[in-house]
């Protein structure tokens, strides 16, 4: 009988340790934290670190998630299934925090006295391996804000329903200029919350409309309850792509929550995964063009608000902003995401040809 040949098993991969674990804190600090963000935080002074398994982190506001509601040690809440490593670098003006587990690395910039719960989160960026998306395991990382287990909305890149043999990483980023929060400037916590998460007000349409009218007059786009840090949009996408490419990923993806975010990533060559969603965005953009052609002047932030508005009860949508059909596909409440992607090398373009 022929001698049996053992096939190689990629143990790390099978246990959920992805190439993202190779990203160093130094890379995150120098390549993803922008010059303005670093300047705001000041110099790194020292650090503490350790592996954690609780939802509560190292200081007030420093929390992680347990989206699958695992109850450990005989049914106790407050724990996460997959331990994560956390490093808190104290800086002159706050803290630079890096959290990581096998599938995600997530970094935070805290401005102010973080130890006493008086700091502002001014920056958050992350890279997440998508290999478990569409399964319960996707939600097992403690470093998530949203669920990704729905196989319809969060399936990996697929052709004719079959996932392609390719690796993909999701980027996410949020930035907030310190002192610029709506609630800090206006004392209006409800308006702040509305601007941050407008879709959560759709169940109260009159209130939505009232707050919408106020938001319309601000310089804030939906999602921006603080002003963005100016250099983030210029620096971040190429840096994310460079890191992902270096790690050997085939694709980088994002799920833009609003029109201005989608257009930002489009500018860097990202494409929509779902042709139906792509058509929806095209319809929204055509509608915005029509509104403008009718003499309504729209700022970029108002264009994003117009998209949000289409999810409101039809009879409440102001006539001049009505698009009669297309709706923004991602509300950050349900799991439907507007997945976009960018191939990271020529071979990847062949793996997932542009539709």
């Amino acid at each position: 009988m022929r001698k049996f040949t053992f096939q190689r098993l990629d143990v790390l991969e099978s246990l959920g340790i992805t190439p993202l674990t190779l990203v160093t804190d130094e890379q995150v600090w120098t390549e993803l934290f922008t010059p303005m963000t670093r300047a705001l935080l000041g110099e790194i002074l020292d650090f503490t670190r350790g592996t954690k398994e609780t939802v509560e982190g190292d200081f007030p506001g420093d929390k992680v998630s347990n989206l699958n509601n695992h109850l450990l040690y005989g049914g106790q809440s407050g724990f996460v299934r997959m331990p994560y490593h956390s490093t808190v670098y104290r800086t002159t003006n706050g803290a630079f925090v890096v959290k990581r587990d096998g599938v995600k690395i997530k970094a935070f910039g805290w401005f102010g006295d973080y130890k006493n719960g008086k700091a502002e989160l001014i920056f958050m960026c992350a890279l997440r391996d998508r290999r478990f998306d569409g399964t319960k395991r996707a939600n097992d990382t403690a470093l998530l804000d949203f669920e990704f287990d729905d196989e319809k909305y969060n399936a990996r890149l697929a052709i004719d329903g079959q996932p392609i043999n390719a690796s993909a990483v999701e980027l996410s980023a949020y930035c907030f200029m310190p002192g610029s929060r709506i609630v800090d400037a206006s004392g209006d916590a409800e308006l702040d919350l509305f601007v941050e998460k407008p879709f959560t007000f759709l169940d109260r349409p009159e209130l939505f409309l009232q707050l919408f009218k106020r938001a319309w007059e601000t310089k804030r786009s939906p999602g921006q309850n603080s002003n963005p840090i100016p250099d983030v949009s210029k620096v971040l996408l190429p840096s994310f792509a460079r890191i992902a490419r270096k790690l050997g990923y085939d694709f980088i993806q994002n799920a833009p929550s609003h029109l201005h975010v989608a257009l930002w990533t489009r500018k860097y060559g990202y494409d929509y995964v779902d042709p139906a969603q792509a058509k929806m965005i095209a319809d929204l953009q055509a509608g915005i063009k029509r509104i403008k052609a009718n003499g309504v002047v729209l700022t970029r932030s108002q264009e994003s608000w117009v998209c949000v508005l289409q999810s409101l009860r039809e009879d409440l949508i102001p006539e001049e902003l009505k698009l009669h059909g297309p709706k923004w596909p991602q509300d950050n409440i349900s799991q439907e995401n507007l997945w976009m992607y960018q191939p990271l090398h020529d071979g990847a373009k062949l793996l997932y040809p542009k539709k």
Binding site: F6, L9, S14, L22, N69, L72, Y73, G75
Partner: protein, 349 residues
């Protein structure tokens, strides 16, 4: 300018060198010639899977959830850390390797996996870095808890240490199969669990005394397992960068086997107890009671009975066997693999 410290992320996340041991290394160095002969050659391999339930693929293939984690809103039947599962069909059975970040465990099953196969070999190496903490029990591949800091704290904080465990069972030799008596089988497998019923313990003890089975051996051992496994384990541990290899000896004959392989006791107190047991056994023999090696092990077990139940001719009047596999107290023995370990474990001069 701030200098960023090095961080071994995979190690921090509980991924240790032991999970990198390949199935091929295990088959080559831990599955002995006799076991390979019994199993026959590997004929096919199933696609490796990642499992996260206690339930295995067939009866006897289960794993554990010692910390009683209840996942997905409180459901039982899941394990905290998924483990990979490699299945190889052999001519006469199956070779299975389970592994997670801290342990691999190999199983050789003899017979038709879909019917009632017999486990004939179980061999494992487990990284001890989490011992003495609840995390030690989080691997689904442990049969006993190791979280007690008093009994299971690693020997040295900076030495990389791995625990070996090995069981070999000759097919068809199980006591229950030969006698039709599952309770007697259980007694031989786990005699300390009968101590709460001393009369029954003594009944079975007297029967076991006359068998060729040592405590723990509810099946006959496979002869070459004792000669092959220690060098095989050590070779693997050394190749994967471990400083120290350890085991928890459940019975006297296992401790003697480990000693003959160069293992020494971790605890000086336990070493003294072991020496006292050796002296007592010598005294019993010189009093005219010849003891086989298996009887020596049984004599050690008997010392845990209430004193009035210990047969007078084997009463050691003091020393008690240190590991009962019920509590967490283990009889840790170890062998340094590196010069670094030898130096670190030198007794203070």
């Amino acid at each position: 300018m701030f200098k960023f410290p090095h961080l071994d992320v995979t190690a921090q996340l509980g991924i240790t060198p032991i999970c990198m041991v390949s199935d091929s290394e295990i088959w080559t160095h831990l599955v002995t010639p006799t076991v390979k002969g019994l199993l026959g050659p590997i004929v096919s391999q199933a696609a490796p899977e990642l499992l996260d339930t206690v339930q295995g693929k067939f009866f006897g293939d289960e794993v554990s959830n010692l910390n009683d984690h209840r996942l997905y809103g409180g459901k039982t039947g899941f394990v905290r850390f998924p483990y990979s599962y490699s299945f190889y069909k052999t001519l006469n059975g199956a070779f299975i390797v389970k592994r997670d970040g801290v342990k691999f465990e190999a199983f050789c099953w003899y017979g038709d996996i879909d019917r009632t196969p017999e486990l004939i070999l179980k061999a494992a190496l487990r990284d001890r870095r989490f011992d003495g903490t609840p995390r030690a029990n989080d691997t689904a591949l442990v049969d006993y808890p190791y979280d007690d800091p008093q009994f299971n704290t690693p020997l040295h904080p900076s030495l990389k240490s791995v625990e070996l465990s090995i069981y070999g069972f000759m097919p068809g030799s199980r006591i229950a199969d030969a006698t039709g008596e599952p309770e007697f089988d259980r007694f031989v497998a786990s005699p300390f669990s009968f101590l709460d019923r001393p009369a029954l313990f003594l009944t079975y003890f007297k029967r076991a005394w006359n068998t060729k089975r040592s405590p723990g051996q509810h099946s006959a051992p496979i002869k070459d397992v004792s000669s092959h496994s220690l060098p095989g384990f050590e070779r693997i541990a050394r190749a994967h960068g471990y400083d120290l290899i350890e085991m928890a000896a459940s019975h006297y004959h296992v401790a003697k086997w480990a000693q003959s392989g160069g293992y020494v006791f971790a605890s000086s107190e336990q070493a003294r107890t072991f020496a006292a047991i050796n002296e007592a056994l010598a005294a019993i023999r010189s009093a005219g009671h010849p003891l086989t090696r298996t009887q020596q092990s049984w004599a050690c077990v008997a010392q845990s009975l209430p004193v009035e139940h210990i047969p007078a001719d084997i009463n050691m009047r003091g020393p008690i066997w240190m590991q009962d596999n019920l509590g967490q107290q283990c009889l840790w023995v170890h062998k340094p693999m590196t010069e670094r370990a030898r130096q670190a474990l030198l007794p203070p001069s």
